[in-house]
Amino acid sequence: MLSSATGRFKTSYAADAAIQRTPLARIAFWGGLVVAFVIAPQVLGNYWLNNLNAIWIAVVGAVGLNILLGYCGQISLGQGAFAMAGAFSVALMYDRFPGLRGSGWELWVTLPTAGAVGALVGAVFGIPSVRVKGLYLAIATLAAHPIMDWTVLHLLPRLTVKGSAASSLPVPRPTLNLGFSSFVIRSDADRYYLFGFLAILGLLFAENLVRTRIGRAWVAIRDNELAAQTVGVNLYTYKLMAFALGAFYAGVSGAMVAYDLRAVTNEAFGVDRSIEFLAMVIIGGLGSIPGPILGSAFIVLVPIVIRDQLVAPLASVVPRIATFYAFVRDIIFGVLIIAFVILEPQGLYSLWRRVKNAFRLWPFSY
């Protein structure tokens, strides 16, 4: 049960395509779910629940980018802009359809719509990917940000009921009617459950999708486009599909941001967010499903940990370190990212796999 050191012998197609291949993996998965959703909310305070919420939000967006970059090999710097599209679609729906507020089924409507709007925008900005590759595609998708900024600013007055010029909209607290009970999602813990559910759902969907024909086509495109074409993979369709799905995840991530802040403003979705998503995916490990989780946790928690564990205790010893930290925070962050790319180019996930293998092969080291 504990190891498959002698090889994995599958006797059915289902077992071959399973996500959790050993009993230990199954235990770890369900145990992780129990810890995350039963134990953690009881034990952690609001501060850490809020940090974990930020991680869930980041995970959804990072999984989308991982599909696009890790599995299909298309660099995209537009995840933040697609998230903005999703977030604004949520706010606009509440603005145009006041009947949505307080109805128990609003989440069933707003979340898929946010994803769909994000997917649409993503597909539009994915069109250049047919002709353009690599670095040039990155710059082409970078254009998504100013274009979406301009669109939101100029389209918003026409779309909102009041037609005001402000570029921010409020979002009310969602009400969820599960049939047997209906409650308003109010506190950090409520949001934790909602966001965690969405993140796990997104992860499972992505993990299953990449094991299908579509996933294999993406991997073929990533590895060698010409060879994929000769085998009969329609580049255009699959690349656009990758963009659309990655942007769907980004749209849902944007909707989660909207519900978290309860106000949507285009300042919250700058190029920084896209670059952060990229950093999450690269640091976590491209082309793996646990990679985005590790990368998101790293990117979200490192600044907080540095500030709380390193700077705050030193504040009484070294004067003005808090002010100093404000200036060097981004530098430290960038240095860490560079260090990771140099020392661990395959990401945290490969580090994790090496540790796992070391235990599996012990006492042998090869």
Binding site: Y47, A165, S168, L261, P303, P319, I321, A322, A326, A339
Partner: protein, 431 residues
């Protein structure tokens, strides 16, 4: 071939993990040591510094959070305002101005909503603040719903949502100084009053920073200008990342407005003055909102700032308000020298204003041992014509009115000195 391998092998070895970490560790240690030495004589406002005054009952320390932007788009304002606030809190703690010790907690959000959310959570959950100072309008918009939820008063003097003057809409947001809407109405009223030519309507043009803060009074200006008989030629948005405004000012010059109302902050105010001089648009026709008129902007623009009008919501340092006198007495007693480059800038004064506002709110909140946000809210709503040691025209707050005051002062740069042109006045109420 073999030589090539050896060449690269040697270099790869240099990049070994241990060396890298050793160099990084040494660099970090050096950086830490560097930030320890040097710096101005004012210490950070830890409660340990400064003895408490002769209070009969020692109430427990209250934590107050303050968003201060030392980096980012408005770092020029943030650095000075942060220092001003720190100095005032240090003084206030030494004379027990707030009735209890105030622990001022600074957080830098770099003008970004994400980091602001993180900092807000830190304030509420970890530091357990009883009130906090917001900074930047987009952040205010994003955090206002949360502040209402967590029942913690949020201070937004001179910026933020004009709507938040309504105490019922935003029960925990307090403005305390002229909001953007009040500033806009004051300028429009001034335009209407000073326009003497009866043959035609005055032409105005509104130039604003391309974000929520700049767009905040846009609707109001568009609606009210025709009602006051002002011909609003157009509104020009300045992108946040602009480095040169010659094109926009050339366009403005071609339209030839009589009054150019600018709502810019950060780098753009100085850029606007320099560009205006370049294209030959007189600075005497430029009227800036409150965040475009600090000594920093005048210094950067140089002679191009001559004649530039600007609104202020606090007293200027050159007016020598009571607050400054108190600070100077305190510094003399403590043996510190005043950094006139900092104190001579109105952004520093605004930092002092922010801190004075909060400390007075703490005082008004009463004698309970631990203060909750609701206590501070009640204390604030009891403010009656509080002049904040000469800094404010008089803040009056109530449960329904969180605006405090609509008054502003108009200054103009004459011979390099920002001189008062019109004392506290307010614009007409929007109709």
């Amino acid at each position: 071939m073999l030589d090539e391998n050896r060449y690269w092998a040697r270099r790869v070895r240099r990049l070994s993990r241990r060396r890298f970490l050793g160099v990084a560790g040494a660099g970090a240690a050096a950086a830490l040591a560097a930030c320890g030495g040097g710096g101005n004589p004012t210490k950070s406002a830890a409660p340990a510094g400064g003895q408490g005054g002769a209070s009969t009952k020692q109430l427990s320390t209250v934590a107050v959070g303050g968003f201060v932007d030392r980096t980012g788009a408005v770092a020029n304002i943030g650095n000075l305002a942060g220092d001003g606030a720190k100095d005032w809190v240090e003084y206030a703690n030494s004379v027990n101005l707030g009735g209890r010790k105030v622990n001022w907690d600074e957080f830098n959000h770099n003008y970004e909503v994400d980091k602001a959310k993180e900092g807000y959570k830190k304030f509420i959950e970890q530091d357990k603040v009883s009130a906090f100072l917001s900074f930047s309008t987009p952040v205010t918009t994003a955090l206002a719903p949360s502040a209402d939820d967590d029942k913690t008063p949020m201070f937004t003097p001179g910026f933020g949502l004009s709507d938040s003057a309504d105490g019922k809409k935003f029960p925990y947001v307090f403005v305390g100084a002229a909001s953007y809407g009040s500033q806009a109405m004051a300028l429009l009223g001034y335009v209407k009053d000073t326009w003497k030519d009866s043959s035609r309507k005055p032409k105005a043009l509104y130039m604003y920073y391309g974000n929520d803060a700049g767009r905040e009074p846009l609707d109001l200006i568009k609606a009210q200008a025709p009602k006051l008989g002002i011909d609003l030629l157009s509104t020009v948005e300045i992108p946040a990342t602009t480095t040169d405004m010659t094109e926009q000012l050339a366009d403005v010059k071609s339209r030839d407005p009589d009054f150019l109302l600018t709502h810019l902050f950060g780098a753009p105010p100085a850029l606007s003055m320099k560009a205006a001089q370049k294209v030959g648009f007189p600075a005497t026709r430029m009227y800036s909102f409150v965040w475009g008129g600090g000594q920093y902007d005048f210094t950067v623009a140089g002679p191009a700032s001559e004649g530039y009008f600007n609104l202020q919501f606090t007293a200027e340092p050159s007016d020598n308000p009571d607050a400054y006198q108190r600070l100077r007495d305190y510094w003399k007693k403590a043996g510190k020298t005043e950094d006139t480059k900092k104190t001579g800038d109105v952004y520093y004064t605004r930092g002092v204003f922010n801190a004075a506002f909060i400390v007075d709110a703490i005082k008004a909140a009463g004698d309970k041992d631990t203060l909750t946000g609701d206590d501070v809210k009640k204390g604030l709503e009891s403010f009656k014509d509080n002049k904040l040691y000469g800094l404010s025209p008089g803040i009056t707050l109530s449960a329904t009115d969180h605006g405090g005051t609509r008054k502003v002062r108009l200054y103009q740069v004459k011979n390099g000195v920002n001189t008062m042109v019109k004392d506290w006045f307010e614009g007409p109420q929007p109709s």
